[in-house]
């Protein structure tokens, strides 16, 4: 009993937190990220790695279903909490972590893996009664790029995935880890604000845009696997949103830019990948940094360099443009074009490259959820 108690107390000093972010809850996400960093918790890679499931914002029905499935996959001891107000991050996370070592609440040692057993049973008449292991479907077959016929799997990426845009689901048809077809969408969010967090106006707009680019860059660096640099960029993003003086921000940004430009490994990872030409950008209605990068090569490298250049200009006081992701028109936000571009550009890439391309376009799901709002209400 004493040993259990000691283990529990030790275990909660290094909690692993899996945040599930609802579209439109960027402000809350930033608070949660800062709090996670402050208490020294680990951002979990997936359900098996998580102790705390943290629901950030108010999810809609579809996301709630996904959350329930993910919740059933947490090994436990586990705790689940939700918040919709950035100011609550500290108390909610603290309470969830404390609940982890509660011997009665979070333990639940006799729980089975109900999610592993609940796959539909396939025995019965319709296909000659062949019984599949675990009730799983057989994979379809399709031609691949080497003119072989290989299994095609349908794998959804998201909505719960580390370093992934909030509420985005990308339905992939893959052969091995090679993407044959992609279809991205954003899960509906009932409480999405009409104005996306990053799209500010007025005096603070330039800084807000700069922070938006840094947020995108941080996600890209996390996907590329450079966790130390992703950390630095995210902290710089947080200071850009706080009232750190601009010369300090620009000096830190310059140091980061030097490191990124000098890293051959980063260039190996991003050069020549996911080329978005000016023509395609035009056709899909992409404006913003991704379209401006088309003139500089249009690959992932050009896009992260564009973010660095534009962040520096914005911090130097350049006025903010029509939106951090580009110009939005009613009914078609700038990110819709980015999402369409991602669907096209990831085809033929492996999952690692596909994730990099998506991260380098970084559609803002806040914009997409907000714009789909009126249609939802009307129907």
């Amino acid at each position: 009993m004493v040993l259990t108690e000691i283990l529990g107390r030790w275990a909660r000093r290094r909690p692993h937190v899996l945040p599930v972010v609802t579209p439109g809850a960027t402000a809350v996400r930033l608070a949660v990220e800062a709090e996670t960093a402050r208490i020294g918790a680990v951002e979990a890679t997936g359900p098996s790695d998580a102790d705390v499931l943290l629901i950030v914002g108010n999810p809609g029905d579809e996301l709630r279903e996904a959350i329930d499935l993910v919740w059933s996959q947490l090994p436990g001891p586990r705790a689940r909490a939700g918040l919709a107000d950035p100011a609550e991050a500290g108390t909610v996370l603290g309470r969830a972590v404390l609940a982890l070592s509660d011997p009665h609440g979070a333990g639940d040692r006799d729980r089975g893996d109900e999610w592993a057993d609940r796959a539909p049973d396939m025995d019965g008449g319709q296909d000659g009664g062949m019984r599949m292991p675990g009730g799983l479907m057989m994979a379809d077959r399709g031609p691949d790029r080497d003119a072989l016929t290989l299994d095609v799997l349908t794998v959804p990426l998201g909505p719960v995935l580390a370093d992934w845009p909030a509420g985005l689901v990308m339905d992939l048809k893959v052969q091995g880890d090679l993407v044959q077809q992609a279809q991205a969408r954003v899960v509906p969010a009932p409480a999405a604000q009409s104005r996306p967090f990053w799209d500010a106006t007025g005096l603070g707009a330039s800084r807000r845009y700069a922070a938006s680019h840094l947020d995108s860059l941080g996600r890209l660096l996390a996907v590329v696997g450079w966790s130390g640099m992703a950390w630095r960029v995210r902290r710089l993003r947080d200071s850009a949103l706080a009232d750190t003086p601009q010369p300090v921000l620009r000096a830190q940004l310059a140091a980061i830019t030097r490191r990124l430009n000098r890293s051959p490994a980063l260039r190996w990872a991003t050069d020549g990948l996911g080329v978005l030409t000016a023509g395609t950008a035009d056709r899909l209605g992409v404006s913003g940094p991704a379209a401006r990068a088309a003139a500089e090569g249009g690959d992932v490298t050009a896009r992260w360099r564009r973010w660095l250049t534009e962040t520096d200009a914005l911090l130097a006081g350049e006025p903010a443009g029509p939106g951090p992701r580009g110009r939005s028109v009613p009914g078609r936000p700038a990110s819709a074009g980015l999402l369409a571009a991602a669907d096209e550009l990831v085809v033929g890439l492996d999952i690692a490259a596909a994730r990099l391309v998506l991260a380098s376009l970084d559609p803002d799901t806040d914009e997409l959820a907000a714009s789909s709002q009126p249609a939802e209400v009307r129907s």
């Binding site: 996959q73 090994p75 436990g76 370093d163 490994a265």
Partner: protein, 308 residues
Amino acid sequence: MTAAPAWAVVPAAALVLVLAGGAAALDGLLDPAGRGRPVAWRLGRPVWETARLLRQRRRTTVAPDALLWRTGTASPLVIALLMAVLVPVGGTAVADPAVGLVWFNALDVALWLTVWAAGWGANSAHGLIGGYRFLSQALAYELPLMFALTAPAVAAGSLRIGEIVAAQEQTWFVVRMPAAFVVFLVAVAGFSLWGPLSYPAGRDIAGGVLSEPSGVDRLVLLTGRYALLTVCAGMSTALFLGGGAGPFLPGWLWSLGKTALVLCALVAARRSMPVLRADRVMRLAWLVVLPVTLLQLLVVSVLAVRGS
């Protein structure tokens, strides 16, 4: 070099685990999360993590290949311990067989099968991709590693670790074969799924081969990763850094000190650069690293022939 009695396996394994724990503590200290916490709190992270995983329930997946999965999960630790019997501390190793270097190489090739099995056995898309990523990564590092291992063997004229250490009395092999030393360390990171070579356990595929195991399974897998790093740091000391050679201090202290230094360098490299994707670095591995390793081997061979 003297071979130790059979019971020496136990202290050897304990030493590996202690050093692996030290490496994990250093990694906890270097983790930027929670910088405001006291140093002791951050150094204790392997302890907190172990407590956490001991409390955690083992989970299963839909229709896993349980035998392959659990075997694969345990393999890095088992293989690290099997490698550890060769590593001399001062003048003593648990065993010093005539084919020591081949034993080491065979064990690192065994990881091809077992890490793949750890990914494949869970019957999950992310694990599967992770398993195959390991194979493609191994395709990039394995041949350079084999030639890098050949270099000290040729220079010493023996596959026995003890004789390789003894041959470095005049100059450490790292002076004669720096390229082989670097290739060895990179390959170690490769089969330990570490840092820039953690492509098979990438965050972009929710942890890859690490995406499904939880509880004790995960603890064993993560411990195995640190144990591999530790043992191979010890191996690099024996093969390239003169083993226990050094002035004033006793040999075992020199061995441990050099091992700890190499281990710290490996741990510190973890967050310092992006993950190298196998498909992008394959060209580099085969067109640059492999020829450089062969050239290195040629130089070493010519020196060995002229010396004899």
